[in-house]
Amino acid sequence: MTTEIQTETTEAQTTRGKVYVIDRGRTKLRAGQGLLTGLEVVFRHFRDALTRKLEKPSQQTGVFTVQYPEERLKLPEAFRNFPILLYDDETGQELCTSCFQCQRICPPQVIHMTQARDPATGKPVPAVAEFLIEYDACMSCGLCAEVCPFDAIKMDHEFEYSTDVHGGLTLNKEALNRPISYYEKIAPTFWAEVKDSAMKKLQGNMKRRPDLIGVAPQMVEKIRAQRAAAAAQAPSPTPATPEAAPADKAARLAAARARAAEKAAEATPEPAPDSAPIDKAARLAAIRAANAAKKAEGAADEVAAPATDSAPTDKAARLAAIRAANAAKKAAAEGAPAAGSADFASTPSDAAPAADAAPPASGMPADKAARLAAIRAADAAKKAAAEGAAPASDAAPPASGMPADKAARLAAIRAANAAKKAAAQRDGSEE
């Protein structure tokens, strides 16, 4: 009575992928035959489920259960769960440049990061200092991975994150970091597509990362050891000496700029001491900057002189810069009596700027010190102009990546700008 049903599934390859054609047997059934056909189908499923697993899509019967913890399906490459950060296997350098694209696009706003800064200059570098993702609120949309221009953030295949520790689902950079080789393993074709451009970009970014910044935390020790070993083997090429000459020049230039700034601040113009000895030139420039600012305030200017006298050359330059900074600040903070400002600056137990400036003093070569001092002056002046009170707090331990003369020049420019601003503000407030 049962109709013989030849349930055949044929597989055909078309241009748009595989097509499965299922023969459903007879469709016209007489009274009761439908019931029996149904029983037959169910029995076939029962019988086959006892003997085999469902392996191909063209198979209609067989157990399709995957006994999850023991058996796992192979995840497709495009499977995405939570994002991870990649770092280079050899150099340990992270691909992330802290460009904030992922943070901006993340719909639930679960990505947070801090950009790394060069401790010497305080300037941001293309690396990330800390990176947090709240996995518990991440919705696995994958937008972060899609938007990342450096292919630094990718979607992971790991999905077993069940925990009773809620906070444990906020992962920091160290927990997020995976070597590229890991990603290559889970998504080989995807990585192959972007590999070249990503590595090229990484090479470029590595050049702008001083010291160990940008190295994955778990790799820091290894890389440091590697570098130490490399340094011990290769004879050190003494990179500091050839830069000495340009540094002097730079100091002079800085002084010139400072002078210009001074003029802009409508101080009494003084001839530029071009003929002065190199160290002195830097010092002088700073002093002038300070003076200019001070004059704008109409305060005592004689204090600068003793300070310069007592200090050794390079130190003096630094000090002068500090003074310049302080003076500029004071200038901005209207109404404050500027008389004691110079003394303030020279005493170590003083307000923040002085304290900040003190540490880097000792072991530095002259030009470097000058540079630093100028930077500080600039910062302080800027801040003063902007807010009027807050001390510059960004000063960090000395950095070594940049050529000294360039830095010094830059610093001087900043000092000049700051002074100008201070003056402008002052003018405005007087009027």
Partner: protein
């Protein structure tokens, strides 16, 4: 059991105490047997239906998930027992008991093996039917006492279903009563000895040369109720192999599905429509009691169907072992108990199979099915059964000289009876199916209609 106990501790205890202990023991054994089967059925149902749906089913607790029912039981025991505030407290409490008790009572009269029957009741079939109807009261109590519209709806459906399906079920059982000439369940398996279709009608020509392994003494086979004969006995003379028994079995089994509330007749608890029907407001062990009642009812009905139509404990080898005498009788009893159990489980498998294959009927379809299909078939079957008895057993005096089959051998009479009833049953089945077909859709010719008007 009583005899065994008497022989062991006959002198030590008063006789009434021995009888009491014996029956308590038997009751305990039967209840444990049923509950053990219930546990296995729950497990098997889940596993089997899972395979039918290409899954694995519970396989974590214990080997192959065998301990899953135990885990479920623990869960049930630790569940909070909730009674709705406006429920009728006592009715709510008593309902599961009223539902389970009659079901448990049904087990008392089933012959579980050759010589293993708890009670020999000469109206066992009537008892079964009557007692199983009581559990409907329990369902109604549950629905009414819960003070819940879904529960009440479920109970109404349950009662309507039970009442309408009782009729085809009883009518189908009537066939058995006619064939057996009595209502005793104990006798039924003995009557279903012999070979398929022919029953115990192939007699031994030479009483000396017949091996006791193939032939056994049939005392109460339809051909000759009084004088014992030697007949070929393979233990396969089940009534289901005759047209009458086949139709009766079909009708009874379908009606049993409805009485046991199995899919496709699980309308009373249709979980996709009315939550869980009359069980909606039950939790914990009370819910489990309903659950047990339902499965044991299925178990008992399967046992009844097997006994009435599938030969009960009858099977190849049982008679031969029994004929060998001595300790082999006990082996025969064990084998026969196994046969019955196997039949029950095959029927239960069919129940699961149906559940895996068919969707739930609508209420109107349910009623149609019972009243328009099953009942007429069962009624026709009664006629067939009567003819069967008449053709195989009646003397020409009983026929009043209308038909005289006295000169034929039993197997010839049996063959005639089978052919006649087969023709009647097949014709009736065709006819009833045909008149149950939906009327043909009339194609109205619009033009003609307009012209006519």
């Amino acid at each position: 059991m009583t005899d065994i106990l008497r022989s062991w501790i006959g002198g030590a205890l008063p006789d009434w105490l021995i009888v009491l202990i014996a029956y308590l023991l038997v009751t305990t054994i039967v209840l444990f047997y049923a509950v053990g089967n219930f546990i296995m059925m729950v497990w098997a149902e889940r596993r089997v239906v899972a395979r039918m749906q290409d899954r694995l089913g519970p396989n974590r607790v214990g080997p192959a998930g065998l301990l899953q029912p135990i885990a479920d039981a623990v869960k049930m025991f630790t569940k909070e027992d909730i009674v709705p505030r406006n429920a009728d407290r006592w009715v709510h409490l008593l309902a599961p008991i009223v539902a389970l008790a009659p079901v448990a009572m049904m087990l008392a009269v089933i012959p579980w093996g050759r010589g293993w029957e708890p009670v020999d009741l000469n109206v066992a079939l009537l008892y079964m039917v009557a007692v199983s109807a009581v559990s409907g009261v329990g369902l109604m109590m549950a629905g009414w006492g819960s003070n819940n519209k879904f529960a009440l709806l479920g109970a109404m459906r349950a009662v309507a279903q039970l009442v309408s399906y009782e009729i085809p079920a009883v009518t189908a059982l009537l066939t058995v009563v006619i064939l057996a000439g009595g209502m005793s369940l104990l006798e039924l398996p003995y009557m279903q000895a012999g070979v398929p279709i022919m029953g115990a009608t192939i007699l031994c020509g030479d009483p000396a040369g017949c091996s006791p392994l193939l032939y056994s003494t049939i005392t109460s086979f339809p051909g000759s109720p009084n004088e014992p004969v030697q007949a070929l006995d393979l233990g396969l003379g089940w009534w289901v192999f005759t047209p009458v028994g086949f139709l009766g079995f079909l009708v009874f089994f379908i009606a049993a599905l409805a009485e046991g509330e199995r899919t496709p007749f699980d309308i009373p608890e249709a979980d996709s429509e009315i939550v869980a029907g009359y069980m909606t407001e039950y939790s914990g062990m009370k819910f489990a009691t309903f659950y047990i009642a339902q499965y044991i009812l299925n178990f008992a009905l399967s046992a009844l169907a097997a006994t009435a139509f599938l030969g009960g404990w009858q099977g190849p080898g049982v008679a031969a072992l029994a004929n060998m005498g001595g300790p082999w009788v006990h082996v025969a009893a064990a084998l026969s108990a196994f046969y019955l159990l196997a039949k029950i489980w095959i029927l239960f498998f069919v129940m699961i199979w149906l559940r895996g294959a068919f969707p739930r009927l609508r209420v109107d379809q349910l009623m149609d099915f019972a009243w328009k299909l099953l009942l007429p078939l069962a009624l026709v079957n009664i006629v067939s059964a009567s003819l069967m008895v008449g053709l195989t057993q009646w003397t020409s005096a009983q026929w009043g000289g209308l038909i005289s089959l006295d000169g034929f051998a039993p197997w010839q009479r049996q063959l005639i009876a089978v052919l006649v009833t087969a023709i009647i049953n097949i014709a009736a089945a065709y006819w009833i199916l045909a008149i149950n077909q939906r009327p043909k859709q009339v194609e109205w010719d619009e033009e003609e209609l307009i012209a006519a008007s």
